[in-house]
């Protein structure tokens, strides 16, 4: 077998084994994305209940809570960037990071110092490589985040927000995460987490769902005190879960196109190998023929 042929065989063997790997990763992502989507759906009752309760308290007691208070002239803005721990998910993490860069520029133009909080090893790597500082990072859970992690992040962010910019905290907090819309569409979203904007529950429009005159136990402000941190945590938890589902969907898509590309490459290499073999045969024939005719001429 000629050298050229051997090279093509080698290449197609390595492409074949890569194809097996990407195919396996695609299948794994497919099975996990279903679970991740279910988790998003399962947290909806909690999110709804807590939103309803918060807006009920906000409607009936005109209390200014530190977490809802807009600060004048904010100088430091925290940004929570939610990316993945592992790569091989197409542009998933890159999109989030690109968007957060845009947000950083916007905030800096408005005269605010940006304080990054990171989740996912990809974001951490991005910041370390550029030798940029970040306030805190959480890693190791991005494809299946738990409520405990959300709580930990929530407590840290809330504490820094309450501390305020003068004491080394922040004046506002934004989240950059990827919203899961469906299997083919995931959109990077930027939302402001703190100070909270309490949106009235959507269903309040119908007569039956108007808030009754609640009694508060122990009292309005204290109920709000207990509710708002939980509300913050539930928002973060939801963002983490959406990001996890998006990550897996992005990985599935990336691995599918990698598998397709491998198929394409295999086809090309097979053709090239065939061509090389044919060329070799043609050359051998013409060598034999010319050798024979040289012998005949010599006689």
């Amino acid at each position: 077998m000629g050298a050229q042929q051997r090279i093509y065989r080698q290449k197609s063997r390595s492409v074949q084994s890569m194809k097996k790997i990407t195919r396996a990763m695609e299948l794994i992502a497919t099975s996990r994305v279903t679970k991740a989507r279910e988790r998003v759906v399962q947290t909806t009752p909690y999110a709804r209940a807590i939103t309803r309760a918060v807006s009920a308290v906000a409607t009936f007691s005109d209390v200014d809570h530190p977490l809802t208070l807009e600060r004048e002239n904010p100088t430091r803005a925290g940004v929570l960037i939610i990316t993945s721990d592992r790569g091989l998910a197409g542009a998933y993490s890159a999109n989030v990071l690109k968007r957060s860069e845009a947000l950083r520029e916007l905030l800096q133009d408005e005269g605010r110092e940006v304080v990054p909080y990171l989740t996912g090893r990809k974001a951490e790597g991005y910041f370390r490589f550029r030798q940029r500082t970040f306030e805190e990072s959480w890693t190791g859970f991005t494809d299946a985040p738990t409520y405990e992690v959300a709580k930990e992040i929530g407590e840290r962010l809330t504490a820094d927000f309450i501390r305020g910019a003068e004491d080394g905290g922040v004046d506002e907090i934004h989240i950059v995460y990827t919203q899961f819309i469906n299997m083919v569409t995931q959109e990077v979203q930027v939302v402001r987490l703190l100070p909270l904007e309490v949106v009235d529950a959507e269903e309040a429009a119908s007569e039956e769902d108007l808030f009754p005159l609640y009694e508060f136990e122990p009292n309005g402000p204290e109920v709000l005190d207990a509710l708002l941190p939980q509300y913050v945590t539930s928002r973060i938890y939801n963002a983490l879960l959406q990001a996890a589902a998006s990550e897996l969907a992005a990985r599935q898509r990336a691995m599918k196109s990698a598998t397709d590309n491998a198929d394409e490459l295999l086809k090309t290499y097979t053709r090239l190998a065939n061509q090389a073999r044919q060329a070799e045969i043609t050359q051998e024939i013409s060598e034999i023929v010319s050798g024979a005719s040289a012998l005949a001429d010599a006689k």
């Binding site: 009752p45 209940a49 005159l213 009694e215 207990a226 939980q230």
Partner: protein, 89 residues
Amino acid sequence: MSALQVELVAADRMVWRGEASFVRARSIDGDLGILPGHAPLLGVLVAGEVSFDADGTHQTVTIDSGFLSIDHDRVTIVAAQVDASGLTA
């Protein structure tokens, strides 16, 4: 008298929903007993047990801090974490 529509919700799932004739939960100010026809209430719960009577059986679960809302005989108990191992129905 009508029954209470109870929803017991944890951060990551709906734990239990159904009808109950009586719900007991521990709020910051002390134990709360809820029967049908209770006034609308929004209360903060502390870590402890929540129990309710449903279909003639007495069920108990353990929650960490959370809150509870009652309006028009709809009781929603919300907690970050719910230990539902004592739940039989």
